[in-house]
Amino acid sequence: MRQSDIFELIKLKFPQVIQDELTKAIVVPGDQILGIAGFLNSAEFSFNNLHCLTAIDRKENIELVYIFYSFKIRLQITLKVCLPVDSLEIESLTNFYRSTDWFEREVYDLFGVKFLNHPNLCRILNPSDWKGFPLRKDYSYPDFIKKAQY
């Protein structure tokens, strides 16, 4: 059972899914993430563990990377979603996996991706009144940091 077999199975149910040739990740359109997560979570594969969720700032769009893991078939697959920079919204997976609660808050805090109907989407690592999203490539450091280096 390899990642490509999983990709074929997903391809049957969700035709717009493509496979990234360099990294073998399954690239998924943003609005179908809930359906695919439900499909993966089903009894047959039981990818019931979202191991890691992160984002990559590719300047014109932000790539969300979901890494699922299944204890049953001992396989780890990577799902990618490309969100255009101007509309950074995506469904939240908190009702599938409890671990996404903090993962998504961290991605919101560092990248600014809004997760719809997330229990309490607010900053987790930075102070709540922090301006800007630090891990963006075009992020300029706050001025008090410069002032501190006397």
Partner: protein, 171 residues
């Protein structure tokens, strides 16, 4: 302002023959008492806190210098050992803790991060560049990342010397 002048009878003591000796003697007794029981505030931020605990454990035994009693609340502490990186979010808490300590209080900056931000000096957006940047007066700097427990003990000895040398006054 020297506290001694505020004692009502202190002018009287100066006029008595040998009064100065009594005042000086009591000053050095207070300084000796203060310096040999500097109670630190448990304030472990990052990696240096593990070395501070190791200094408090049985091998390096900070108790030999009288400051083995790690108090949790700043009300009962004399010295604040800032052990680790101060992030922006933690900055106000450090300032508030320093303000809430009773008056003869001292600060030891343990490790490079507490001195100047250490290896997190460049390319960071959330690290305060040292305890001085928070406006907290630091008495002893202990460089190292993390400094070995012997360095912390030596820094404590330096602080004790400093406490003994300073004029007895509210600091």
């Amino acid at each position: 302002m020297a506290v001694i002048e505020k004692i009502p009878g202190s002018q009287l003591i100066h006029k008595l023959p040998g009064g100065g000796i009594v005042l000086a003697a009591s000053g050095s007794v207070f300084k000796w008492a203060k310096s040999s029981s500097l109670w630190p505030l448990t304030f472990g931020l990052a990696c240096c806190s593990i070395e501070m605990i190791a200094a408090g454990a049985s091998r390096f035994d900070i108790d030999r210098f009288g400051s083995g009693v790690f108090r949790a609340s700043p009300r009962q502490c004399d010295v604040m050992i800032v052990a680790g990186t101060i992030s922006v979010k933690m900055g106000e808490c450090v300032k508030r803790l320093y303000a809430q300590m009773p008056e003869p209080k001292y600060v030891i900056a343990l490790g490079n991060c507490a001195i100047s931000g250490g290896i997190f000096y460049h390319d960071t957006y959330s690290v305060v560049k040292g305890t001085e940047a928070l406006g907290i007066p630091v008495d002893v700097y202990i460089p190292g990342c993390p400094p070995r427990p012997e360095n912390l003990l030596f820094g404590l000895m330096k602080l004790q010397e400093k406490v003994k040398k300073e004029r007895y006054a509210a600091k």
